[in-house]
């Protein structure tokens, strides 16, 4: 049996990377999926590739008015949803604390944190009792990675949302969990303006105990598991999926 048969899922930032791979996996498990993104062409393309169980809606997660339109559209079309996967995010410009401008700060926080917050708030009336919310954070939420100070904080705040909501939403039996990936093969760093050859040259895989970065599809498998009824007793959890990277080796 498919684990998400007849479920309706929304994936924010679904036109590439982890969001796209998860939409694909949700669909393979029987769900209908609405993917969002800020780039209309990219999002429509992605939905077309995903096939008839996918639908695109253009909405920028950092613009509250877009989220309002998105929820109005979904309410009209589906009434209610089962799964909300808050995935859209950016790293922002990588660089030292003293060089972070207010603009850099706002861009990251508005998409990753404030945008996530109000996406959840506006979706809440549309999520079925007994439904589930999954937040895509990062092991950065738990770390002190130099050069990513705003990104780290934006994700730490997201994990705190996950924990608090897991307790606030119990009366509606909505489970809320957070996934913290390590390095995943997506274009996120290229989009952050880091030249391709620098990204390729930075051998993240060397620091990861399993010796490689993750495929986006591997993160998707964990998200699908958490979204399924097999995870009914999992709530308020933070699951690392990082090839062992977050285990501190101290001087090893």
């Amino acid at each position: 049996m498919l684990s998400l048969e007849n479920k309706i899922a929304v994936v924010t930032g679904g036109n590439s990377g982890i969001g796209y791979a998860t939409a694909k996996d949700f669909i393979e498990q029987g769900a209908n999926v609405i993917i969002t993104g800020r780039n209309e062409a990219a999002i429509n393309n992605a939905a077309a590739t995903l096939g008839p169980q996918a639908e695109a809606f253009t909405a920028d997660q950092s613009i509250l008015a877009d989220t309002k339109k998105l929820t109005a559209f979904i309410h009209e079309r589906y009434k209610q949803i089962d799964i909300l996967f808050v995935n859209a995010g950016i790293t922002g410009k990588i660089g030292p604390f003293s060089e972070v401008t207010e603009e850099n700060f706002d861009e990251v926080m508005n998409i990753n944190t404030k945008g996530a917050f109000f996406t959840i708030q506006q979706f809440l009336p549309l999520i079925k009792d007994g439904g589930t919310i999954i937040l895509l954070s990062s092991v950065n939420a738990l770390s002190g990675m130099p050069g990513a100070i705003v990104y780290n904080a934006s994700k730490a705040a997201l994990n705190a949302f996950g924990r608090t909501l897991s307790r606030e939403l119990v009366s509606r039996r909505i489970r809320v969990n957070t996934v913290n990936p390590g390095p995943v093969k997506t274009d996120i760093l290229i989009k952050a303006g880091i030249p391709e050859e620098v990204v390729a040259g930075k051998d993240f895989a060397k620091s990861v105990p399993v010796g490689r970065s993750a495929e986006a599809s591997e993160i998707a498998k964990l998200v699908t598991f958490l979204a399924s009824d097999n995870a009914q007793f999992i709530n308020g959890a933070e699951y690392n999926i990082d090839g062992g990277l977050f285990v501190h080796p101290l001087l090893g």
Binding site: M1, S3, R163, T164, S166, R167, V170, R173, R175, G182, P209, V210, G211, A214, E215, E218, I219, K221, L222, F225, N230, A231, Q232, F233, I234, N235, G236, A237, Y239, N240, I241, D242, G243, G244, L245, F246, V247, P249, G252
Partner: protein, 250 residues
């Protein structure tokens, strides 16, 4: 659905509760399963109830001679295995100031020392690319009164898993920990938990109920599957939200 066809899984303490249900879940997905336990009658009965191809071996996890025999048996019977699930555990509660050395040793020898050497002795027979999953408890990260030695034995297990995740990465063996909340198993009866106490726990648990062995088995089989290929050194709670600290909320 994930298939464990042709996979061989060893589960310690598999004749009851979480271990038993996890064995059933692996079997359903096509694996061959060997369960252990300290009581040969109980192990045999469980193997019979689980059905083919379940097998049993009597081994007390706290007795290193028996653990050695188990490892030898695994080598002779299977050559190599794919997954090891360290599940056997012993619980005793009571205030730290009244804990005797015998009680302390029994807890530590079963939950930690026994687990440590079970892994060490069986490790040569775990395939490269295989997995080890360790059943701990939320207690590993909590400070629940009355569980001083038990909690410490579980914290030691979580620490062991972290170190092994890095030490065994070269052999591509993934090592993860599952921390369950309160799960309805015979352990609760053995601990004399009243109906009233169960209701209290369900009320304290955000999801509003105690866990079922299948809740844990679903996660353990996921972690042992190829879908979890990038997951190692992780600690996953399956607790209905209990571990999220409410601080001063009611």
């Amino acid at each position: 659905m994930t298939s464990f066809k042709d996979k061989i899984v060893v589960i310690t303490g598999g004749n009851s509760g979480i271990g038993y249900t996890t064995a059933a879940s692996f079997l359903e997905k096509g694996a061959k399963v060997l369960i252990t336990g300290r009581n040969p009658g109980a192990v045999q009965q469980a193997v019979y109830a689980l059905g083919h191809p379940a097998e049993g071996f009597k081994a007390d996890q706290s007795d290193l001679k028996e653990v050695r025999r188990l490892a030898d048996y695994i080598q002779g019977r299977f050559g190599t295995i794919d997954s090891l699930f360290i599940n056997a555990g012993f619980a005793a509660v009571g205030p730290a100031d009244a804990l005797t050395e015998e009680e302390y040793d029994k807890i530590m020898n079963t939950n930690f020392k026994g687990a440590f050497f079970t892994i060490q002795y069986i490790l040569p027979y775990i395939k490269d690319g295989g997995s080890i999953t360790i059943l701990s408890a939320l207690n590993a990260n909590a400070g629940m009164p009355g569980t001083s030695a038990l909690s410490a034995s579980k914290a030691a297990l979580n620490s062991l898993a972290r170190t092994l995740a890095r030490e065994l990465a070269g052999r591509r063996i993934r090592v993860n920990v599952v921390n369950p909340g309160v799960i309805e198993t015979p352990l609760l009866d053995k601990a004399g938990l009243t109906e009233e106490a169960r209701r209290f726990i369900a009320d304290k648990t955000p999801v509003g109920r105690l866990g079922k062995p299948a809740d844990v088995a679903n996660l353990v089989t996921f972690l042992a599957s190829e879908n979890a290929g990038f997951i190692t050194g992780a600690e996953y709670n399956v607790d209905g939200g209990l571990f999220v600290h409410p601080l001063i909320a009611s």
